[in-house]
């Protein structure tokens, strides 16, 4: 929105102060995340910028907290757990969610809104309530304090995102393509893998990424369901922040920011690709 040439002085002042205010809000959004990164290279165990750091003295910086992270078996164990749980629940929720989204997008599906409401519910219910309910039920059937229990719980929390993104991709999906393929003699599996899948793949991948980050970032359910053996990175951070706070947490936080940048980039590339395929944006 450029300033029109007929703008008066009041409008000009208003326009520039509006821009400045917006800039301040963007700083508010991004600053906390950027501040963590240099602090994680601190050479002393403080959560603040030391005078050495501010004068860019190399002695003020070190990789000490990263070494601490890599040499601590507890952190490494949590990292493994986080990946095992997140990957397993992503595979499960992407498979189940994609199938359900295909069913929901077919014409003449009965009770659509009721089913959708139930499938989406894990996203709406506050996490503390889900965690409480899962704690009681999973304990009573012996799934609490197992990897399987947490994987199932995270799968439930992740599927709504897959259902929503894949359903959105299927909105513009031409159902007659399926009939055409069947007409030409394709078996149902061939139709699925050769016709449907390539078209909805961007939606499936972004849904899968959502499911992954939901599980990877989730702490409340893990807090209630996990024993020492199932500790994940977020739980380790959570208890670290509550008990003995150490700058190792900042090193972990920086690594997690890196992961989210990677995820964001992947999603952005996918979005561009699907927009290009639909001819929505100029090259």
């Amino acid at each position: 929105m450029a300033l029109p040439s007929y703008a008066g002085p009041v409008e000009r002042i208003w326009y520039y102060s509006y821009r400045v205010a917006c800039g301040a809000i963007f700083v508010f959004l991004i600053a906390p995340i950027l501040v963590v990164i240099p602090l994680s290279f601190n050479s002393v165990p403080f959560f603040t910028f030391t005078p050495e750091m501010l004068s860019f003295d190399p002695a003020g910086y070190s990789l000490r907290w990263y070494r601490d992270f890599l040499n601590n078996p507890q952190w490494i164990h949590s990292l493994q757990n986080s990946f095992i749980i997140a990957i397993a629940s992503t595979i499960l929720s992407t498979t189940l969610g994609t199938l359900a989204a295909l069913g929901l997008s077919r014409p003449y599906t009965p009770y659509k809104s009721v089913i959708m409401g139930i499938l989406i519910s894990p996203m709406i219910v506050p996490l503390i309530i889900s965690a409480t309910g899962m704690f009681f039920f999973y304990t009573s059937i012996g799934l609490a304090q197992t990897h399987l229990g947490i994987i199932l719980a995270h799968t439930a929390l992740g599927t709504p995102f897959v259902v929503i993104t894949v359903t959105a991709t299927l909105v513009g999906f031409d159902q007659s393509l399926i009939r055409a393929a069947q007409n030409l003699g394709a078996a149902p599996t061939t139709v699925f893998f050769r016709v449907i899948m390539p078209l909805i793949l961007p939606g499936v991948i972004s849904g899968g990424l959502f499911a992954f980050i939901t599980s990877f970032d989730e702490v409340v359910v893990v807090l209630f369901l996990a024993d020492f053996d199932q500790r994940t990175i977020p739980l380790q951070m959570f208890s670290g922040l509550r008990e003995q706070i150490s700058p190792t947490i900042l090193a972990v936080a920086t690594l997690l920011v890196l992961i989210s940048v990677l995820l964001l980039t992947t999603l952005e590339l996918l979005r561009r690709r699907s927009e290009r395929l639909r001819g929505l944006s100029p090259q």
Partner: protein
């Protein structure tokens, strides 16, 4: 009309439609049953726990049976005392008696001592009359009130936990009365949760509206860049963002040091910004801001800029044009964003737990406290059901305004 195989066309179409429906339901079924088993059943199970009162009838079965015929006047007959002695003895051996002690203590503090004290002495009481022996062991058994409490808790279901959740309780004869003042915490906490969620929602509009407007009106090249600044926090781990705010806000933290350096505050008068209400509000506003900006942006992008120009050329000044022409068109986005942020805010747990101290915690934190520390699980479940009901009502409104199908992610 007949189809190729000779069946009437109507029958043939109905059959094809039925097959279509079954196929669709078949595709949905795996996820549906999975969610039912792994999510809905646990939630229902938790809701039932909020009215569950089976501890006393379960551990003291003979006593509750004997009390059924008691009229509540004076003391129950000798047979009831004998039943109680037998139940406590059995409960001591099966180690279940502590549950009863805890359960009774929720209702009347001090009952834990009564039960556990009696349980310790019960082995010495070998034969009747049990009435004198029990009153000798603990004089509470000589009080009608104690027996009335046991009789009241003999029912396997109760609404007592819901009363507790709104700072009320049953008195000894079963009337609903207010809790003593020092135990009245839940209503205030519900009010605080609602009030802070409203405040945070308001702040996200205040901060989100201008930047969404800027992104919607800038050329795509710039707005995509700015969008990254919104999406990066959105995709960054909640724990990372909470950690970041602890680092920023603590008394030796970045914000305070910056303010001292500028000269805004004295070095020895650094304000407390974290582990209180302010910390929760700042951190949660930051964390929930993208949930406001994204729906606002997607609505604002559909508003043609020519509308504002038309309003200006018809003589409206900038402000009038904005308020009368632009803002009404964005109301759908504002509504969607508000409800989304509000729903997320009232159920928030992690951030208030870490940056809220005692004055900035919300109802979720109390649920977690009862789950993990006081172990009053039924009260936690009752609080949870109330919270769930609130969220469900809000979600219903959201669905009416926006429709779940129109929800956009990322």
């Amino acid at each position: 009309m007949r189809a190729a195989d000779g069946t009437p066309l109507k029958v043939s179409i109905a059959r094809a439609m039925r097959r279509n429906r079954l196929l669709a339901l078949g595709l949905i079924a795996p996820l549906f049953f999975f969610i039912l088993f792994s999510f809905i059943v646990p939630i229902v199970d938790m809701s039932l726990r909020s009215i569950d009162n089976s501890v006393v009838p379960g551990v003291l079965p003979n006593t509750t049976a004997a009390l059924r015929d008691w009229d509540g006047e004076g003391l129950p007959p000798e047979a009831t005392f004998a039943a109680l002695a037998a139940d406590i003895n059995a409960g001591r051996e099966s180690r279940e008696i502590g549950k009863v002690a805890t359960r009774l203590n929720y209702e009347v503090s001090g009952m834990r001592g009564t039960i556990m004290g009696t349980a310790r002495k019960i082995a010495r009481i070998e034969e009747g009359p049990y009435k004198e022996a029990l009153i000798e062991a603990n004089k509470d058994w000589g009080e009608t009130e104690t027996w009335l409490l046991l009789k009241r808790l003999s029912d396997p279901y109760t609404f007592g936990y819901y009363l507790n959740a709104v700072d009320m309780r049953f008195d000894s004869v079963g009337n609903v009365v207010a809790q003593p003042e020092f135990r009245q915490i839940y209503v205030n906490l519900f009010i605080r949760t609602l009030w802070m969620s409203l405040l945070i929602t308001g702040l996200t509009i205040l901060l989100g509206y201008p930047i969404a407007h800027l992104m919607a009106t800038l050329p795509l090249r710039y707005s995509n860049l700015l969008m990254i600044l919104v999406l990066l926090p959105f995709w960054t781990s909640l724990l990372v963002r909470t950690t970041a705010w602890i680092v920023m806000l603590q008394s030796e933290g970045v914000i305070n040091s910056l303010m001292v350096w500028i000269g805004l505050i004295a070095n020895d008068a650094r304000p407390q910004l974290v582990h209180n209400k302010i910390g929760t509000i700042i951190a949660m506003t930051h964390i929930l801001l993208p949930f406001m900006v994204l729906p606002l942006y997607s609505v604002m992008k559909t508003i043609p800029p020519s509308y504002m120009r038309a309003a200006r050329s018809l003589g409206a000044n900038q402000l009038t044009a904005f308020v009368r022409v632009y803002m009404p068109q964005t109301m759908a986005g504002v509504g969607a964003g508000c409800i989304l942020v509000f729903i997320l805010a009232i159920g928030y747990y992690i951030t208030p737990e870490l940056v809220g101290g005692t004055s900035g915690t919300l109802i979720s934190n109390l649920i977690a406290y009862h789950m993990q520390q006081s172990l009053n699980w039924s009260l936690a479940a009752a609080l949870g059901v109330i919270l769930l009901g609130t969220v469900a009502a809000l979600y219903f409104i959201y669905n009416r305004i926006v429709g779940i199908d129109n929800m956009k992610l990322g």
